[in-house]
Amino acid sequence: MVNALLPVVLRGAVVRKRGQRLVGPIDLTLDGQGITIILGPNGAGKTTLLRAMHGLERVASGRLEWAIPDAQAHQAFVFQTPIMMRRSVLDNLSYPLRLAGRAQSDVVTAAQDAARAIGLQDKLNLPAPRLSGGEKQKLALARALICAPQVLFLDEPCASLDGPATREIEAVLQQAKADGTRIIMSTHDIGQARRLADEIVFMVSGRVVQTGPAQAFFEAPETTQAAAFLNGDIVE
């Protein structure tokens, strides 16, 4: 399957806020298929990098380019704390389809199917803000996938979830990957990275320290920082 959005190329990309450099300069090229995981300690700049790639943060200097101009329209983003609209579960799921102008009948069926896929079919009419943390995270993921994005960003989707909920989310992600969605996600859970990643981007304090195929990264980390991080040491 060909993904028209890729590659995304970053050259010396820097994100600043109030004159302060949050991340960068970053040189990075993401291409191909599968799941890229951005690993790194708290404050490394994972969220900022994902948001910049999705166009939510402005790149102050350097370049960040997708293969096509309006790439953002074919992407979706699952935020670190899920944003629940003050609507029912069903209306949250159907919202992106309505924005895209899909026919009413398609919208409802698609939303119902999506709810079934994440086990929320019995809570269709419940206000989404009342769901549990894990259910919210699943709903946010299903809502992000409902328009079949070519690239899906996830920012620590399992940060506050227990084992079973994490497994459910990971199953949905594996399915999306099999369907050809390119996934770029952050985590600081090394176990999750081992389970899911095809490719690793390792960040420390705003810079990309190491990138490469997941297997190589875990088996033979090139940098001392990566080795220390995998070892469970505290990296700053």
């Binding site: 999705h54 939510l56 953002q72 329209a73 992407q75 979706a76 983003f77 935020f79 944003i83 609209m85 003050r86 609507r87 919202y95 992106p96 924005l99 009419n125 206000p127 803000p129 009342r130």
Partner: protein
């Protein structure tokens, strides 16, 4: 004290005998203010939401102006509308002065800034919550505004009610542009002013109680309507 008791009694009799003049005046009050609030909401709610989602250079200034407009003295609004609609004014040919339409125009001007300002405050909070999601989903500006208005509708009903409260009790502007003409532009507030001037305090108070009752009834009805629609708090 005696006068208040007499006022209660007068109101009671006005109501139980279903005084036709009273019904006419009360209905006109309702008609003028409800129409004005509807028009002002149509303008003020989207404008408030637009101010919340739109970043432009003079946004702060626009918000400051809006908040200042909230405090417009109704009498001055009445005077300006009077000058615009009077025979020699720019809109004199329309012949609107001393009609309910003129009163509606004046009330729209008085009420719209209030509705817009309250709408702005509540949609701004919701926008902070939704911002990343709606940007990520590529919602157009109009889609963003519609979403905020819909999901924030409970607060917006309160905004409209505040506008209604300000409009229904307003006397200065509608007195000037309406003229308090019997069977044409007389409403509860102008009738109260008239009866007070004539020294008929009992009737004035009676009308006052009817006015309060009307305002309460509209508030309660609106709240009940919005309650039946909701299944629970978010």
């Amino acid at each position: 004290m005696n006068e208040i008791a007499q006022g209660v009694e007068a109101a009671f009799w006005l109501l139980v005998t279903f005084d036709r003049d009273l019904a006419e005046i009360a209905l006109r009050s309702l008609q003028v203010t409800v129409t004005a609030v509807l028009i002002a909401s149509l303008i003020g709610l989207p404008f408030g939401a637009w101010l919340a989602v739109r970043r432009f250079r003079y946004r702060r200034l626009a918000i400051a102006v809006l908040n200042a407009l909230m405090g417009l003295p109704p009498v001055v609004v009445g005077l300006i509308v009077y000058l615009l609609l009077s025979r020699s004014g720019p809109f004199g040919v329309l012949g609107l002065l001393f009609t309910p339409t003129a009163m509606i125009i004046a009330q729209v001007i008085i009420v719209a800034p209030l509705i817009a300002s309250i709408a702005h405050q509540s949609t701004r909070e919701l926008w902070a919550e939704y911002h990343d999601l709606l940007i990520s989903l590529n919602a157009s500006r109009w889609q963003r505004i519609k979403t905020l208005l819909w999901d924030g509708r409970r607060a917006l009903i309160t905004a409209a009610l505040a506008g209604f409260g300000r409009g229904i009790g307003e006397v200065g502007a509608i007195m000037i542009v309406g003229g308090n003409i019997d069977h044409a532009t007389r409403v509860l507030t102008t009738a109260i002013a008239l009866e007070t001037g004539k020294g008929d305090f009992a009737l004035a108070l009676g009308l006052g109680f009817v006015l309060i009752g009307l305002a309460l009834a509209v508030n309660i009805a609106t709240h009940m309507l919005s309650r039946t629609e909701r299944e629970g708090k978010w």
